[in-house]
Amino acid sequence: MRFTTCQIRLRAALSAALLVTLTSTGWAQQQGTIAGSVTDRVTGTPLAGARITILGTNRSAATNQEGRYTLAGVPVGAYQVQAVLIGYGAATNTANVTAGGIENLDFGLRTAVVSLDAVVVTATGEERGRVMGNVVSTIKAADVVPLSSVTNFGDLLSGRTANVQVLSSSGTVGTGTRVRIRGLSSFSLSNEPIYYVDGVRMESSSNSFSVGTGGQSFSRINDINPEEIESIEIVKGPSAATLYGTQAANGVIRITTKRGLAGRTNWTVYSEAGVMNDNNQYPTNYFSWGRAPVTNTVLQCPSTTAVSGGCTIDSLTSYNVLMDPATTINGTGYRGQAGLQVSGGSEQVQYFVSGEYDDELGHIRLPEAEYARITQERLVSELPYEQYRPNEVKKVSVRTNLQAQLRRNLDVGLKSGLVISNGRLPQNDNNVTGMLPSGLFGKGYSGTRAFGSDWGFFRPGEVFAILVEQDITRLTGSFNANWRPTSHLSARATVGLDHTNLVDLRFQALQEGPDFGTLRRGQKFDNRFSINQWTVDVNGSGNYTLSPAVSSKTTVGVQFLKEFSFGVGASGLEMPPGGKTVSAGAIRSGSESTGETVTLGAYVEQVFGYKDRLFFTGALRTDDNSAFGRDFSAVYYPKAHVSWVISDEPFFPQAIPVDNLRLRLAYGASGQRPGTTDAAQFYTATTSTIRNVDTPALIVGSLGNPNLKPERSTELELGFDAGFLNEAAHLEFTYYSKKTQDALVLRPLAPSLGGPASQFENLGSVQNRGLEAVLNINTSLGSSIGLDLTLSGSRNSNKLLALGEGITRAFGGDQQAVVGYPVFGYWARPILGYSDVNGDGVLTAAEVFVGDTAVFLGYSNPRTEFSTNLGVTLFNNRVRIGGQLDYRGDFKQFNLTDYFRCTSGAANNCQALNDPSASLDDQARTIAGRTATLGFTAAGFMEDADFLKLRELSFTYFAPDAVARALRVSRASFTLTGRNLATITGYSGIDPELNGIGQSDFIRDFLTQPPVTYWTFRVNLGF
């Protein structure tokens, strides 16, 4: 790890400031105490974890497990005190604090599906939702996880709120998901949001694997253990993410991990076991047997050739090597998980400690016949387990969260999470040594004949001999302190590090695995990385009541972020018998890489409140970043918010049937920095062979752009939140318009310049506009039936507004960025129609009509989405049935799998090509894709991909007290959950969500493992 002198000084100074903070005492004033309890108004049940806040000050406390709280050291005076808790409406009471006195103040809270006063974690600290001008999306992870046994962070995020699209690229265990919030803003940089865990910036690469699998890779997001999360707050766009500065343009996901509550020790034990099966329908392979016209030579005779007399079809055979029980690689996968969580503490110190072991074994396995063949070939009795089951992820996660109130006005927290995992992935996707490629490109008959094999390229015994593996050790730690020198002034500091140690391996032993190129000579790749994200965030706030009606809060802060990664890679090729290490390779090579970026930001925010119902917020953040060009100075991001709880106004008509109504308006800007070296001019070191001697050499790396600056996104958001039906229902509606300017265009350079292919310039402008709405209902349907329902939906319009002068297209190909059209949209020469002129049921190229130029065919990401999360509780909350339905629409998927099957000589095995009775639609798109004069157009394979998926279905039984007592626990529940249960779609491929390029915004369904069905059983015990 390298820091410059000034970076060390900066960290030291901020740490010193923190120390001063910690050793400070508060103001000596005449003081008293407010204490009391918080209960459910209806049931009288004590409510733990409720937050009690003295309005207009920085003082707050949380109720312990008995629902009690104490606010000591409160200056003498009269206060408005508010109690809030997620799932309940806020309650406000008046307290009169006298010197040395104890003011008893109890609260009875009424259930509310969403409260305007819920506390939200923001860039400047905690804030009540009603103050904020932007929509606030919160996922109460601690409530979701036990009832639906999510398998990874993506499952936790998916379908829970509007316009946060979690797109699964594959069903392979351990592979990632891409998250897109409010559309795609950039066509050169990442469109992923950034992540914070307990205030610390987190490494969140969604493609984090340096050795080849063909397309899929691990995602650092899925290192997070959902069981450790208390809540997730999603900041959707620049209007709300301004104070997060450069890199926050795609939104911010803030994860808050669980914390202990004062009270007795609370133990939670959970265990989960399940099975996974691949219930997808893989397409059948066809082979048309025929003869040449003169020689009678036996050959494959596609119907497209037969129709023109090029050959005569004798018979048609078909075979599905992926579905045949004797040959299929699809077995049963297993998932197991066991965890323990302990929390509790005193009023001064609280703790949360958890540990979990998780093992997910993918469903693919070596078929019996293949196992026998390989063991016989190698003269061994058994194969290494990883060659029998090539897909598995095992993970251990441990978390320790402590918070302590060192003084009455000072509390500190220390949080750490450790993840150790090992995962291995199979070969698939765009990969000649992939398993599905061989299955989907196989011949339409069983076994091997003159024309090739039922497994197109290689058999499972060979493919599974390639081991790719990733080991990680990840430690995320943070220290935070909150100091309140007076009841109006507060300071907050967070210092943290997210450190990931990562080892990527790929190994193929001598004379094992696919005989492709030099692979069977043996190879070992060993790449090791250290990835570090440092966060230092310090701010101070002042709360003042300027008049009985007007409140003020001012916050100033600085933030220092440093991303530093370092990697060393080694490879050894041409292994001796038994060789397994890099050093065993006859040809060895090494590489080294470093990436370093520093962001220094400062911000100021001012909030004015009027009668606690009208709020104005203005803020400004400035950033400088090491990746900006040398001729570009700092960037400034402003924001302005208005939040008006109009239902609190005296003039608000009683006739309007709402319990509360808040109008909100937010404008803000944020950015996205270029890559570490995008602005620099440099040479690259390499090696040249000169007269058979390796010679150190320099070649052109980049021509450089000294004016490079961040992409800048501005967003206007307006909407309303309304509670009705006695706060049993809550509707949130938002319109947003986001515009990204100075978009980094990877502008192609004229090849004749002799430089790199392209270089970043700030040329583009991209717009996203849309609507989103969320309806939450939580109510009783009868004496013993309850309903909790979340309906969310959104629709986004994306358009590339401009590129540089004279540039209309940023990149071409199947997906393009063209001015006036959505970025990454699908383009191809369209199939205008076809006509079976002679009525023989078989089309020829002359009977298919294709447009002359490529046209826009559709979005590559869903424009429209609707999600339904429904839970019904029966028998007085004894049983809960829950489920999630997810609809995505108005987009296309490129079925490149079928395009290749129908058009490439490597396959030539689709039905449309071989079977004269195939539908004319299928024949037309096949002919268009195979014919040079029709431009080999893939338009017919860019299909509507709208789908409705039953993603989740769960049944939970909450054991009655008697049963719990019998089990010697205080509470027990049992949950059966199914995942990926059904898909309704018109898409003809295997699954409309796949992406053979992992988490890229270039999307194609290409030989990728589709999602598999999970059934898991979970036990939760508390005591």
């Binding site: 000034c6 400070s24 000596a28 370093e596 400088d624 090696t687 070649i699 002799g754």
Partner: protein, 456 residues
């Protein structure tokens, strides 16, 4: 609400504030530039070439870029030789990538991404070779043969551009500042290359073997360029340019397996990744490279049922490049004699041309090849010269230039020269391209709007 604040706590807070300020004071000595200063050891700053070692590293880089551009690498990027071979009748496509199929079928779209890289790599080599000349002159002027070699290889980069691409290739420069070139006609490209060879020869006057080797490289390059330009007197001038080149001369790109980029791409794309196979009478007009039984072009299919990457095209690999470290001849004394023979056929009545070819067959290979008989007519004699060139210079990047010359200089029709009709392995129908287009990416050059023409 009322609060009472005593004075002491105020002073106490003030003291603490001052203490805090004292701790923060060190930051005053830091500018944001210092805080933001990061160093990336992965990159080399431009100033690093301003030294003798830097100039030599740049020269070495230029040699490597030339090799990469012409020969390709270990399977990801093909060079001019493989493209020329697949476009013509030397190689047949045995894989699946549509962009490679386009140039196999001579139906190339301007947006072909594979060919965009191939075109750019040729210019990367040329630009760095030309940039290495002033760097060597300033920081490492001796031995001069390095500078001569840079000039000569730059000249060959122009030759490949002229032989393989349409008329209208622009030649821009990124150093010392961006300067966009204007399109040159095919003839102008060869003239530009001749200027580079002449510059090399001016410098290569010493008698040591290293210098003479580069001189012969420049001579053969100039002869090749003149042969291609084909203007009045050019063929004779070509023969004169190469007259002094000994038969034993050869200038190779050499290869090691230290990195993928250094490997012989002509080997890897055939033997390794099996994307191209040795062709046999491809598209009616192709030569019988595989079944001629000629020791100059031998190929092997191992195992006997071996198929290419596409899983069905029979995979025949060229024995000329059996390993990834096999050297690849860029210019040679054999080529010099072939230029002389072609000139003799064109300008000297009698059988001197045939004698020259037969002399080559007798002395340039062991065991000697049987002498050729005079086929009798002008056209068949031209065919024979071209066939001899095709076999002697197999898979060295000469074939596309020769087929274009057959059309341009000998008046042959496209469908009598290039592979035509249906593809032998059912991959489509051959198109009409007789050269490679300048990729659409070149339109980012404000001086370029497209090829001047696509004629041979």
């Amino acid at each position: 609400m009322t609060t009472t604040i005593t004075r002491d706590p105020i002073m106490k807070a003030l003291r603490r504030g001052l203490l805090l300020a004292a701790f923060l004071l060190p930051l005053g000595a830091c500018s944001t530039e210092e805080i933001l200063n990061v160093e990336d050891p992965d990159i080399i700053n431009p100033g690093s070439v301003n030294s003798p070692a830097g100039a030599r590293a740049l020269f070495a880089g230029a040699i490597g870029e030339f090799s990469f551009a012409i020969v390709g690498d270990n399977g990801g990027t093909e060079g001019q030789i493989l493209v020329s071979g697949s476009f013509t009748d030397e190689l047949i496509n045995s894989e699946t990538f549509p962009t490679r199929l386009e140039y196999e079928l001579r139906a190339i779209s301007l947006g072909n991404g594979t060919l965009a890289g191939v075109f750019r790599n040729l210019h990367r080599a040329r630009v760095l070779l030309e940039a290495s000349v002033p760097a060597l002159q300033q920081y490492s002027p001796t031995p001069t043969y390095r500078i001569g070699e840079s000039f000569a290889l730059a000249g060959l980069a122009y030759v490949f551009a002229g032989e393989n691409y349409c008329s209208g290739v622009p030649f821009s420069n990124a150093f010392p500042a961006i300067a966009y070139g204007t399109p040159l006609t095919t003839s102008e490209i060869f003239t530009r290359s001749i200027e580079r060879f002449d510059s090399a020869m001016v410098l290569l006057t010493a008698a040591d073997s290293e210098t003479v080797a580069r001189l012969n490289l420049a001579r053969v390059g100039k002869g090749r360029a003149l042969l291609n330009r084909g203007g009045p007197g050019d063929v004779a001038a070509a023969a004169a340019a190469v007259a002094a080149v000994p038969l034993t001369f050869v200038y190779n790109t050499t290869h090691t397996i230290t990195s993928g980029r250094q490997q012989n791409g002509a080997h890897v794309f055939t033997w390794g990744t099996e994307r191209f196979s040795v062709a046999e009478i491809e598209g009616t007009n192709g030569l019988n490279f595989r079944l001629a039984g000629d020791p100059r072009v031998q190929s092997v299919r191992t195992p006997a049922t071996n198929v290419g990457f596409d899983n069905f095209t029979p995979q025949w690999n060229p024995l000329k490049y059996p390993t990834p470290t096999t050297s690849l001849p860029i210019a040679s004394g054999v080529e010099a004699k072939l230029i002389i023979a072609e000139n003799l056929l064109a300008n000297t009545p009698g059988t001197a041309w045939l004698d020259t070819l037969n002399s080559l067959r007798a002395t340039a290979i062991t065991p000697a090849l049987a002498p050729l008989a005079d086929p009798g007519s002008a056209a068949t004699r031209q065919d024979l010269v071209m066939r001899e060139r095709a076999f002697w210079l197999y898979l060295t990047g000469h074939r596309l230039g020769d087929l274009r010359r057959l059309m341009r200089q000998y008046g042959r029709a496209e469908d009598a020269v290039f592979p035509t009709g249906g593809h032998p392995h059912g991959k489509g129908t051959y198109g009409d391209d007789v050269n490679l287009p300048v990729p659409s990416g070149e339109r980012n050059n404000p001086n370029f709007t497209g090829c001047i023409d696509r004629l041979p």
